[in-house]
């Protein structure tokens, strides 16, 4: 199956800093999502982005499908951005995620005041 690698595994920043999280995947995908897991365990969908670029406030994401990677940018970090960020993909040959997404191990982000 598809392999998903996220980097860095851990990131500690001061409030106001910018950050870039990376997701590499091993095969063609037609579904890619970024999630934020808050300290209470709830996973929130940030972006559905199998290709191209999207922005939502201080967050933006870019997926370059031909090169098999995606980036999540967080600008002007706030303490509420802390948590774990997951990248999850659905392969071209697995119904685009209809039979489940494969998750990376996540990036644990801590924003210090």
């Amino acid at each position: 199956g598809i392999q998903v690698e996220q980097s860095p595994p851990d990131l500690i920043l001061q409030e106001g800093a910018n950050s870039t999280l990376r997701c590499n995947f091993s095969d063609s995908v037609n579904n890619l999502q970024w999630f934020h897991q808050n300290p209470w365990g709830q996973l929130i969908n940030l972006f559905y982005i199998p290709s191209g670029t999207k922005q939502n406030g201080r967050l933006s994401a870019t997926t370059v499908a031909t090169e098999r990677y995606s980036l999540l940018y967080i600008s002007s970090s706030q303490t509420t951005d802390s948590g774990v960020y997951f990248c999850a993909v659905g392969g071209m040959y697995s119904g685009g995620g209809a039979d489940g997404l494969t998750f990376g191990k996540g990036t644990h982000l801590i924003i210090q005041p």
């Binding site: 996973l43 209809a98 494969t102």
Partner: protein, 115 residues
């Protein structure tokens, strides 16, 4: 907003007990999923379902079964709980590729401890 509701936030069970984890979604989604999340291992797919009474094994189905008698409800069953099933269990649903993007929406999770 799509809502995925998991019946229990925290459960403590004893080894050998039968455990039911319930999940209900309210947006007529076709697909439903059960994942477990463990430190250092990320999220792993246990079972999923395309439709009522349909079920498919995910990556780690051993020790689990599922039931989908109604479209909105997907239950995870541990027939005889063991300590290595202590974990966070996450239910998710998605609309299905026939209706567009297969965006997963998750419930709040059920943290199960087996003693």
């Amino acid at each position: 907003d799509v809502k995925v509701t998991q019946s229990s936030r925290y459960l403590v069970k004893r080894t050998g007990e039968k455990v039911f984890l319930e999940c209900v979604q309210d947006m007529d989604h076709e697909n439903m999923f059960w994942y477990r999340q463990d430190p250092g291992l990320g999220l792993r797919l246990i079972y999923f379902s395309y439709d009522v009474k349909m079920k498919e094994k995910g990556d780690i189905p051993e020790g689990y079964s599922v039931s989908r008698e109604k479209k909105e409800r997907f239950s995870l069953i541990l027939e005889s709980a063991s300590t290595n099933q202590t974990s966070m269990y996450l239910c998710a649903s998605s609309p299905g590729t026939s209706t567009g993007a297969n965006v997963l929406t998750f419930g709040a999770g059920s943290r199960l401890t087996v003693l």
